[in-house]
Amino acid sequence: MRHEISPADLHCGAHGAAAPPRPGHAAPAREDLLRGIWRENPVLVQLLGLCPTLAVTNSVANSLAMGLATFFVLLGSSLLVSTFKRVIPGEVRISSYILIIATFVTVAEMLLQALAPDIHKALGAFVALIVVNCIILGRQEAFASRQPVGRAALDAIGMGGGFMIALLLMGGIREVLGSGTFLGVSLFGPRWEPWVIMILPPGGFFTLAFLLLAIGWWKRPRAA
């Protein structure tokens, strides 16, 4: 009957998508909070939200700004969606979530423009593109729309934190190798020859590839 996108399809990096929380499976608050940080990390494990992860992580400052903006949008929309979950009709829920998310993104964009115009310019269109970040829509559909406000907030903080950690990891690696700096502070002195490729688009693909390789190697089934 529902002529809409199912939650599984929203996980656009389809192969790595983790299962949504089982209904009736009461996890303690700590679990809600910590799940997103590592075990179900939205970027490194579920492979969601890859566009911003690759596009804006050429410096730590950009990564931090993007992480904070996404965190704000995720927390805000989770709170609102969870509060109004009984009011939003099922048939138009996806559109409603997108509208709520777009509103918070507009607020975040205006805030960023007012507080840090340089970073806003550097991030360009990618601040507005937070709207189509599937981490946010995915959490609304899979979690916030079914859980009480408190748990939804904890989940949003965990997932937002996990996203920020992944961004900072990418941004750190790329800025240190690509520019020889960390947050603009020179690390290796004038004799360091920066790996320019790391701050260019291919560097983004390679850095994420090697991060995933490292995680895969660490989690590999160990033979006896």
Partner: protein
């Protein structure tokens, strides 16, 4: 005229949406397993991109002049409704094509390439024809990247890849190499 050709090629190869701007990565990683599917996905994307460009131009010219803060919200509504309409039309006109496209059609809504196109078009202040050239170029670029990726993945399937590197990590490394190759097109910029 020269401008239009330039906008087309710039969007297609020099600033390829997928490989240079990281827009539309989801279908790039998700449905790039087979050349045939990749082509179909690319065609659907071009279709929606062109329609979006026309609508965004109309919105920018007639409505958003008076209410710029509604930009993002109106764009996303337009895209979501466009995809829905396209889906209904295709279902009515050609049920066969509808079945072939399957889930890819609704998924285009959450494809950042579409919203990215709308935003870039606005930032750069493209007119009607320029926007059209931009949309077709961007769509052609997406299709090119998808098909390249799919053909490489079809060949790699026969290769003996270590178990750790299989899956997304391998796809990302291929994408990085493709992106490296596409950087060569940046030379077109300086010679223009």
């Amino acid at each position: 005229m020269g401008d239009l050709v330039w906008i087309f090629f710039s969007a297609m190869v020099v600033n390829n949406f997928t490989l240079m701007l990281f827009l539309g990565l989801c279908p790039f990683l998700g449905v790039s397993g087979r050349v045939e599917t990749a082509l179909r996905m690319g065609a659907a994307n071009i279709f929606v991109l062109v329609l979006t460009a026309v609508w965004v131009w109309a919105l920018n010219t007639f409505i958003l002049v008076y209410a710029p803060y509604l930009r993002l919200i109106s764009f996303i509504i337009v895209i979501a409704s466009l995809v829905q309409i396209v889906e209904m039309v295709i279902k009515k006109v050609s049920p066969v094509l509808f079945r072939q496209l399957g889930i890819f059609l609704p998924l285009i809504t959450t494809n950042c390439a579409i919203l990215g196109l709308a935003i870039f078009q606005t930032i750069r202040g493209y007119g009607f024809l320029e926007g059209l050239a931009f949309a077709i170029g961007a769509g052609a670029g997406l299709t090119l990247a998808l098909v390249l990726m799919a053909s490489i993945r079809e060949s790699v399937e026969l290769a003996d890849v270590p178990a750790v590197a299989q899956g997304t990590a391998l796809v990302l490394i291929i994408a990085g190499s493709l992106s490296l190759a596409f950087m060569g097109f940046a030379g077109l910029l300086s010679s223009s």
